[in-house]
Amino acid sequence: MSDAVHPDDEEGPVTSDQLRLIGTPFRRVDGRAKVTGQTRFADDLSFPRMVHMKLVRSTVPHANIVSIDTSKASAMAGVVGLLTGESMPDPFGILPVSQDEHALCIDKVRFVGDPVVAVAALTEDQAHEAALAVEVEYQPLETIATVEEAIATPEPRIHDYGDEGNLHKKLSMEFGDVDAGFEEADQIFEDVMYFEGNTHLPMEQHATVALTEETDRITVYSSTQTPHYLHRSLAKVLGLPAARIRVIACPNGGGFGGKSDPFNHEICAAKMALTLGRPVKICLTREEVFYCHRGRHPVLMKIRTGVKKDGTLTAQHLQTALDGGAYGSYGVASTYYTGALQTVTYDLPKYRFESIRAFTNKPPCGPKRGHGTPQPRFAFEVHLDKIAHQLAIDPAQLRLQQLVAADSVTSNWLKVGSMGLGKCIEAVVEGSGWNQRHGKMPEGRGLGLACGSYLSGAGLPIYWNHMPQSGVQLQLDRSGGVALFCGETEIGQGSDSVIAAITAEILGIDLKDIRLCVADTDLTPVDLGSYSSRVTLMAGNAAIEAAERARTLVARGAAKKLDVPARELVFAEGRVFHGENPEHGLSFQEAVIEAESRFGTLGTTGSYTPPRSPGRYRGAGVGPSPAYSYSAAVVEAEVDPATGIYRIEHVWMAHDVGKCINPALVMGQIEGSVYMGLGEAMMEEQVFRRLPKKRSGALVHKHPSMLEYKSPTFAEMPPVTSYIIEDPDPNGPFGAKEVGQGPLLPMMPAVANAIFDAVGVRVDQVPIAPHMIRQAIEAREKGKPGRFGPKSFPEIEFGVPLKVPTPAEGGDGKATNVDDAGVRSGTGTMTERKDAVKGEN
């Protein structure tokens, strides 16, 4: 420091309020590659001597494996490798508490599609034929198709772990004195609702290419949203040190949550490559993508709410039952998420939440856009519409009069920061002509309103640790270019562009002068992955820290040359200059040369760890987020009462994104969410049927093809009026919050509410098919309630809930009855938890 020109030149410049790039629509950094075919997706990769792998999948839903005969297959032309489950005995799974998957099934198969054998051959055709020649003998076990069957059939168990019988998870929690809350109410409303399962349907089929570099060193390219978690699973199952495994997440051809688990095909490809010493590729067929699934859980819900005459909510009791499919996946977290975010939109002073997740013999469910929250959000928003109608209060007003306050803590101890839901509601009400048209249009035409909220990143990592959840490393040199290293994964949402833009903004350089290296576990700092809408906020904040440190270094170099205090320098337009005299400056490149001359090789890092949540009870790990986004939608529907056939004529969507990093990308996420929500509301369903007894009685996928799994085409997409609401959050980079998932949430309930406004009947489940509307109309004509939907919620003994006093009751975030609560709660293993606590002390 002896050579400092000014004593205070250690301080760097501050970021100006005058943003040049943030908030403007710029072409995404991968835009050109994506329109020219240059983007290399996993299946686009090819290496010399590469062989192709196929998986032999179970043809029965639940069975013991009696024998596997690979003799015919191994003798077939081109076959070079075969693997069975014994070669990979260690289980894996995304959550530490649900390590229940094997790369290949060892003793037992649990759904049609569960992989049993991996075959590698010189060509894909040869691998396919050899896979058909593998003979597996099964001893069938009783099949469980639904939550009700799982409750009624504790034995045989699909897994030998879980809270009881075939219930993977069972939980019960109470925030505040809920009974007292119901007593304060003038009326108690109760509904039973159902949300059918559906799947992500990314256009890209999952693909993986694995190749060895040394006998014990391997590189795995994959279409994964979570290279870091795949890295951990590979280390565990392959028994290799993590430092010898390199995972590179290729750009994903769509994810939506469907590529967030470590998958058996990824581990098998790696094992096969290590066995054969040559590159191995697998690309799933579309049918196999349906078996991978990890999609939206089917959820049956009972929602009971105490309400005062003026519409004030006094208490809510929510019960959810999730059909989890055959494995744990993210299911424990999904279970909590079907309750956790009920409290962040409207004041809910007392709240009881009970839930089960059942194992069934179907492809495993997991996280899909909105992860566990769209189902209870659907129930809540339709329920509120009914309450408003009953109490003759306008549905928009009912919501506006009890919004959660900004900078408050909810009854279940979630810290809400910025809160733009009021502005969102006002925008769609005004834009849609709600006040003039809702409840006032001719029969067959209706408007429905609904809202939602989502995380900007989960507050806790999937495994307990105290390390950053995102990291960015910058390297600057005399070329004037900046290399940006970050573990984040581009799945189409534009995350590469977000971190590049943030860095370019702070360093005042052109986006084209930033070279990105992302999602490579050998080269890039860890980022936990593209899930829970976490990347803009977390990687964005890490990028800010790294870029500000780089700016300080460069400023100190330039300060000496310019004889100006570093903190008075401005970085803009590719120059570094004195704020008071812009003529006095250097090009960015010249400034970097000054800094490199003075300090040597230049590099900085930045990292991000979310703030600690105030909740201290077991289970408080699911729900906290650095910031919550808010959305409101009005949907206009045209319904033909004679047939039940309906069309969505228009959607008004307002989303509180905090601050746009790039409005064009924000618009893309809003419109994409509206689209996917409409698909879920109107047609998408992942459903199963039993074959007749004489044809094996197996439980099979009803339509594992894109033709039969209906999703909206260009022709079904209505006009969308989108309002971007910017209510900056202090925790977000430049105030930004998420936009990738939130705007999906209001769509399903808004459609249901619009149908009610059009024809006066309720369909309390999605997807809403015309025959459901028709049946509800017919019921009404017969003098019965004009409703279609589930009739009852199963009787479940939830035991004594974990009792957590609310902030208003003077609670401290902890439960008061940890020892006598009837069901276990928690999301991490106890060992991990203890280790984490030890680390703290």
């Binding site: 835009g31 075919g37 256009m203 890209e204 189409g492 064009a664």
Partner: protein, 183 residues
């Protein structure tokens, strides 16, 4: 399954390519695996999603359903052939600028289907574009950005450089009441 091989000369993006392949392989497989033209993607290989669309003699065709052996003597165009020198085709440029490509996986097929439409009709209506593209699925965009990008590109191809996509496509619609308050 027959592993019989055949050798054909395919004309791809204006250039003749002599290529040997298994006789039962689709044009999709031959483009990607034998010619290394991986810009053509696949989403189902069953003719359901439109992702693998290429142009044959100017018409959009699902390359997963077309036998490569039957493509000799026909003109095949893929996304790799769209650029004009080092410049993006107006469709490509408008898609990139508007964010009509998010994950980019369905994009090559949609670009080619749109190119075929604009070759036949330089001023298609919104309904005509929807009709022409209704066989191509996209899971990311909600389709609007694609429609707006095609309309923008059509204008540019007609020589209308004044045309701009609606401001609302990029910034969202003006928030009701906000402007009044701001003023």
């Amino acid at each position: 399954m027959s592993q019989q091989s055949t050798t054909r000369t395919l004309r791809v993006n204006g250039e003749p390519q002599q290529v040997a392949f298994a006789v039962h392989h689709s044009l999709l497989e031959v483009l990607r695996e034998e010619l290394g033209l991986t810009g053509t993607k696949h989403g189902c290989e069953l003719g359901e999603c439109g992702t693998c669309t290429v142009l044959i003699d100017g018409k959009p065709v699902l390359s997963c359903l077309e036998l490569a052996a039957e493509c000799e003597g026909r003109s095949i165009e893929t996304v790799e052939g769209m650029m004009q020198g080092n410049q993006l085709h107006p469709l490509q440029s408008c898609f990139a600028d508007l964010g009509a490509a998010q994950c980019g996986y369905c994009t090559p097929g949609i670009l080619l289907a749109a190119q075929a439409l604009l070759a036949e009709n330089d001023s298609p209506t919104r309904d005509q574009i929807v009709e022409a593209l209704s066989g191509n699925l996209c899971r990311c965009t909600g389709y609007h950005k694609i429609l707006e990008a095609i309309e923008w590109a059509a204008a540019r191809l007609r020589g209308d450089d004044q045309y701009q996509p609606p401001n609302s496509a990029i910034y969202g619609d003006p928030v009701p009441g906000k402007q009044a308050k701001d003023v």
